[in-house]
Amino acid sequence: MSQDQTETRDRYRHFLGIQTRWSDNDIYGHVNNVTYYSYFDTVVNCFLIAEGGLDIRDGRVIGVAVETMCRFKKPIAYPEAIEAGLRTAKLGNSSVRYEIGIFRKGEDEAAASGHFVHVFVDRTTNAPVPIPVPIRKALERIKTPGRVEQGKRP
């Protein structure tokens, strides 16, 4: 079981507003656990496209998910709009670990938080490649200083 940890907005460097949809809710009237990963996917890819110039259609390099994790703290529900916070926790040669927080409007503590590890590979050969420079620069900008693991305050 997870250790207790507080993920607040100040721990994230980039935010994206996301509108929940009717079909995100399950029979309990809350956003289903699986859907949070769709928000993760959205904040990560929107950032890579807008800030790092990732070309998802024709680019030679693609990002492949190798590990994702989410801890669910408080429910969220359609029709609220949420905000996804993003930071770079670890930047390797061809891989990056993002950490993500899902926030309700006006709340400082994350309703859910987790991580997403991407490895960048050649679209044709599937072999890992160095992170393209524009993407690396964008990821450097949202890096958290000095620490990488959740739950261990500096």
Binding site: V34, Y37, T68, C70
Partner: protein, 144 residues
């Protein structure tokens, strides 16, 4: 648990179910999108909870809620293959249970993905955690 979960076989998982992939599960790279792996995790966990552990999601006052999930992606899956999902109980706590999950692609001995799914039993009114009900507890012991 073996040291490297990606080397596990179907026999390591006492509860299994087949899940047909759907056309819409594939993303623009031609593989099942990472998010959908959790949809398969959920399918095997929810079915197990209903059919083996006796959970009635609608009528039970005390029912399980997801508190943490994790997935490691070892190999792609792709429509139209039929995925076999395997489940075993990895840890039984006072109010929580951790399931180890693996997804096997057609024709592969080792999993395309492995991970875990943690359920905590809560009172549906107060959302406070509650001890695992006796029937569910007995079931989890059997599927370790």
């Amino acid at each position: 648990m073996k040291a490297d979960p990606s080397k596990q076989s179907r026999d390591d998982f006492p509860y299994r179910m087949s899940i047909p992939t759907r056309w819409g599960d594939n993303d623009m790279l031609g593989h099942v999108n990472n998010v959908l792996f959790y949809r398969y995790f959920e399918a095997v966990v929810v079915r197990f909870q209903m059919q083996e552990a006796g959970v009635d999601w609608v009528n039970d006052r005390i029912s399980p809620q997801a508190v943490e999930t994790l997935c490691r992606f070892h190999r792609p899956l792709s429509f139209p293959e039929i995925v076999e999902a395997g489940l075993k109980v990895e840890r039984i706590g006072n109010s929580s249970v951790t399931f180890a999950i693996a997804l096997f692609g057609e024709g592969h001995e080792t999993p395309a993905a492995t991970g875990h799914f943690i359920h905590v039993f809560v009172d549906s009114k107060t959302l406070k955690s509650q001890p695992i009900p006796a029937k569910a507890h007995r079931t989890y012991e059997k599927f370790r």
